[in-house]
């Protein structure tokens, strides 16, 4: 019984790292109907920006909550700039092209960043400085928690609420939803479509940057290809929750994390990665809108 509970805790903690990545994924899709496959690579860049800035300021030697917040801030700003550049250089020129062109470009950007990362950072794994180390172990009886993972879980819930508020309660959010509804009509209403799309990308990318730092902190081995699998998993989580839906992304990610943990524990560890794609296929076959998705009527 205690082992089952521990597997559950482990599953939620893995799921919350997927949730951090899935939030940005699903938001960009929700607004732009673009599956930004480069999102996993922005996450990787976030981890590297975090590592280099932490090394530069020597945060690894003096871990503190301030160091963590500063590292997060730098990585988020860095990734927001990357997101802006990716949108400006790769996606904006294709705004009027068929959706499939943009999708293929997204895969291209993703591969470009993976290999540019190997050239720039070197392909061997790097150690992520421990900028924040909560004291001691947390445990309830036999049940053990990694304090960092509890924090990550809390942060992903907070970010989910923040995103919900931005999208549904602010002027920027209203503009985003208008652009999402109809680009041309939105610009006729005086909404600066281009800058709204840019901000959407920057917001999504800064979430990926935060995820990069937090995941780097928990699994302190970072490498240029680290974004690929979590990126795909987050995509599956977003589809599972209903792509475009912020709450759905978090629920989908936690569900996926739990499912993986149980499969590894009670069936076979080699099924961990296969499971995500089995779920993806099942969802697409039986409930393409996901758990929380709303059916959109395709405009013809």
């Amino acid at each position: 019984m205690i082992e089952f509970l521990q597997h559950t805790v482990n599953g939620i903690s893995v799921g919350s790292t997927y949730a951090l990545i899935a939030l940005g994924y699903t938001m960009v899709f929700g607004i732009l109907q673009l599956i930004n496959f480069a999102h996993g690579e922005v996450f990787m860049l976030g981890a590297f920006i975090g590592m280099y800035s932490a090394k530069h300021f020597g945060f690894g030697d003096q871990p503190s909550i301030g160091a963590l917040l500063l590292t997060l801030l730098i990585a988020m700003v860095g990734c927001a700039i990357m997101g802006f550049l990716i949108e400006r250089l790769a996606y904006r020129p294709l705004r009027k092209s068929p959706r499939i062109n943009v999708l293929i470009t997204a895969v291209g950007v993703s591969l470009f960043l993976q290999f540019a990362g190997q050239l720039g950072f070197g392909s061997d794994p790097k150690f992520f400085p421990q900028v924040f180390q909560p004291a001691g172990d947390w445990s309830i009886g036999e049940l053990r928690f990694n304090p960092l993972q509890v924090i990550v879980f809390a942060i992903s819930l907070v970010l989910m609420l923040v995103l919900q508020t931005i999208i549904f309660k602010t002027r920027l959010g209203r503009a985003m939803r208008a652009v999402s509804f109809n680009h041309d009509l939105a610009s006729l209403m005086g909404i600066p479509t281009n800058s709204i799309i840019s901000s959407t990308f920057m917001l999504g990318s800064s979430l990926a940057g935060a995820a990069g730092v937090l995941v780097g902190l928990i699994y302190p081995k970072i490498e240029p290809l680290m974004g690929t699998m979590p990126g795909l998993k987050a995509f599956v989580a977003a589809v599972l929750g209903g792509i475009g839906n912020v709450t759905g992304a978090v629920v989908g990610a936690i569900t996926l994390g739990l499912a993986e943990s149980y499969v590894v524990a009670y069936y076979a560890p080699t099924f961990r990665d296969a499971l995500a794609f089995v779920i993806l296929i099942l969802i697409l076959l039986f409930k393409p809108t996901g758990l929380f998705g709303i059916r959109r009527s395709e405009k013809v």
């Binding site: 521990q6 070197g122 061997d124 053990r144 560890p269 080699t270």
Partner: protein
């Protein structure tokens, strides 16, 4: 009309120039080919196991420089042609084909990883080019053909060494295994460890698996913790072992970890930090070995690369020396003669021990066990076959 004919004439001109360029290059190569011996090397210079390839390459390069400085082999200089396989078996196969068919190398050195050596070996065998793997320890590698050799011991021995060490030196009775099922090397080591450890009266209390590339191992470690082992055998690569060690401590497993030569990288201690302290792994050599051969090698290597040579660098160095030694003893440089000469290597004084090639084309030599202390890999003991 005039435009397209202009384009055509340009194209023609370009083609002519290109073909002239090619013939000139070949003409320049031809005389050079007679006074150098080309040796091909395939390694993972980039990719997640980049340090494996780079260390091995440095070792090989150092050996070849020293051989050339002493006058080369049969009066000819050795020329090293290195190819990067990015840590992918399919790239390794392409690289070895290119080295043999286009560069016309006399012999192949590589790979580190067994899975990649096994992708290369059938090709080297098909073209009958001798291939020496510096450090692929899976038994199947040299079974792929009589042109395939290695200068390291094999998994049965490495697994056996750690089982002997656990049972005799550490006096353990209960050990858990966490193996990388995607990696032939890890599976081989785990199997032979389990076999020997049971023979010596111990029990394997848990046998869990992961896939290389995973970052979360808590589920497996939770299962292992429940079984209360006295040590945890993790015969994987340093890329995962560092994270496994950390998460084992987080899960409340405090016993030492055991492993093989795949741990041998400074990154292990960096990523694992305090969690890998007091853990043991088997290796090919220790830089603390006071013998003259080892100390000269360590000094020369430090001078050339400004780094302490790890086990893989030493293996690369030995592989190149064994090849050069065989070429010197061979009556001529035909690949068949070189092959026979490598097979007849007896008591060659290598950095990683005295190397004798047996009838299965494997090296017979002792292994050392190292312990992690303050982030350094300290010599603990030597275990003979």
């Amino acid at each position: 009309m005039s435009m397209s004919s202009k384009k055509l004439s340009f194209l023609f001109l370009a083609l002519t120039l290109a073909s002239v360029g090619c013939t000139q290059k070949q003409a320049a190569d031809a005389p050079a080919a007679s006074d150098v011996i080309k040796v091909g090397e395939v390694g993972s210079m980039t990719g997640t196991e980049g340090t494996f390839g780079v260390s091995t390459h440095n070792g090989i390069e150092l050996a070849i420089k020293q051989i050339n400085a002493k006058g080369g082999v049969k009066g000819k200089k050795l020329e090293l042609i290195s190819m990067d396989d990015q840590g992918k078996p399919e790239e390794a196969a392409t690289a070895v084909t290119k080295l043999i068919t286009q560069n016309k190398v006399a012999a192949i050195l590589g790979e580190v990883a067994s899975s990649r050596s096994m992708a290369m070996a059938p090709i080297a065998q098909q073209y009958q080019i001798p291939m020496i793997s510096p450090s692929s320890t899976n038994p199947k590698v040299t079974e792929l053909g009589d042109y395939i050799f290695r200068v390291c011991f094999i998994d049965p021995f490495q697994g056996t060494v750690m089982a002997k060490f656990a049972a005799e030196n550490l006096k353990l009775k209960k050990v858990a295994i966490l193996r990388d099922v995607k990696n032939d090397y890890s599976v081989g080591l785990a199997d032979y460890f389990a076999k020997k450890f049971k023979e010596m009266g111990g029990t394997i209390v848990a046998d869990q698996a992961y896939s290389s590339g995973d970052t979360d191992f808590k589920t497996q470690l939770t299962n292992i913790k429940g079984k209360g082992p006295e040590a945890l055998m993790v015969p994987g690569y340093y890329t995962e072992v560092g994270l496994i060690a950390r998460q084992a401590r987080e899960a409340g497993i405090t016993v030492p970890l055991l492993g093989g030569d795949g741990w041998d990288s400074p990154k292990l201690a960096e990523i694992g930090g305090k969690s890998v302290e007091g853990s043991y792994f088997s290796n090919h050599y220790s830089q603390e070995d006071q013998s003259a051969v080892v100390q000269t090698f360590v000094t020369e290597y430090k001078k050339a690369y400004n780094a302490v040579p790890d086990g893989l660098a030493a293996m690369g160095y030995d592989a190149a020396l064994v090849l050069a030694d065989a070429m010197n003893r061979a009556p001529d440089l035909n690949s068949a003669s070189v092959r026979t000469a490598i097979a007849q290597t007896v008591n060659f004084p290598g950095v990683t021990g005295t190397i004798t090639i047996n009838s299965e084309r494997n090296a017979v030599k002792p292994a050392v066990v190292l312990v992690v202390e303050n982030g350094q890999y300290k010599y603990r003991t030597t275990i003979t076959p």
